[in-house]
């Protein structure tokens, strides 16, 4: 599954269970994030054993984007079937600040922030 726009892309590879988000997420509200949310929720609803959310190439995430990703995490939590890992990087300081909040939503979530 893939969503590809000028400023961002979201790609899910079912074979390796990786959702890759790249670019900048600056969309306006829940309505504009709906395609991304629909993709994420469909992945969550398939209840794979493992999922990796790779945001190392996601340079920017606005609060509406945080809201969208958190809905995905909460959906995964609801199914109680999937181990989630989030891959981030120190090269984007926002990730060290904001991604850890998802662990509060889903305590079993593994967060890996890679060094530069």
């Amino acid at each position: 599954m893939i969503i590809s726009e000028e400023d961002y892309s979201v790609k899910y590879d079912e074979n390796d269970g990786v959702i890759e988000c790249t670019g900048s997420f600056r969309l306006r509200g829940s309505e504009e994030y709906k395609p991304i949310l629909d993709l994420l929720l469909s992945v969550a609803d398939a209840t794979p054993e493992q999922l990796t959310l790779d945001v190392r190439e996601l340079k920017f995430l606005n609060s509406s984007g945080i809201n969208t990703l958190s809905k995905f995490i909460i959906q995964v939590r609801k199914h109680k079937a999937t181990q989630v890992r989030i891959l981030g990087t120190v090269k984007s300081p926002w990730q060290g600040k904001s991604l850890k909040n998802f662990q509060r939503l889903l305590p079993t979530l593994e967060l890996v922030i890679e060094d530069a």
Partner: protein
């Protein structure tokens, strides 16, 4: 009539480095203008970061941190300002970044309607009355349950919870038009 909420600190004109951008939201549809929020926020952040030179090993990280934080905060403030003033004719949005010795202050001013002010102030008071960390998670959980929600309120909470900014608001009337100025102060 002026009213102040939160930890609003008046801009000190004539001291320190600053940059001001101004927009007329009603001139272009919000959809067309939305893209410019990121361009403006990144420009302000890039400008501010030049005052944190990166020659020394640890200074480089600090420059990236400040740039990243200002970009997020400025973008959120601009998104709010554009959203809430785009339907008001002759409205003006300004965003100003003031660089002082140990903090960066960002002020975003936008027009607001009289009918919106009480609800907005109530929202601010709720924000100020609780622990940001708790309110943040409660907001995410609540938004996930409500299909009609538009994610409002999370911007301020993210600034408070993740960036430890100080927030303040000034409501006043200028040339007969009610305005609100939102201040976010970031320690650097």
């Amino acid at each position: 009539m002026k009213s102040i909420l939160g930890h609003y600190v008046e801009r000190v004109q004539g001291s320190g480095e600053y940059l001001t951008l101004g927009f007329h939201p009603a001139l272009f549809p919000l959809q067309e203008r939305w893209r410019n929020n990121g361009l403006s926020a990144d420009f302000l952040a890039g400008y501010v970061s030049t005052f944190f030179p990166g020659e020394e090993p640890d200074k480089g990280d600090r420059q990236v941190e400040v740039k990243d934080a200002v970009s997020f905060i400025a973008n959120e403030l601009l998104e709010n300002a554009m959203k809430y003033s785009s339907s008001i004719s002759h409205s003006i949005v300004t965003i100003e970044v003031f660089l002082e010795i140990d903090h960066v202050s960002i002020y975003a001013t936008n027009s607001v309607t009289d009918t919106e002010i009480p609800g907005f102030q109530e929202h601010i008071n709720l924000l100020l009355s609780g622990d940001p960390s708790t309110l943040y998670i409660e907001c995410l959980e609540r938004n996930a349950q409500d299909e009609t929600e538009d994610g409002s309120g999370l911007g301020y909470l993210t600034m408070l919870n993740d960036y430890m900014v100080t927030l303040g608001w000034k409501f006043e009337t200028s040339a007969g038009q009610p305005t609100v100025t939102t201040m976010a102060r970031l320690s650097v």
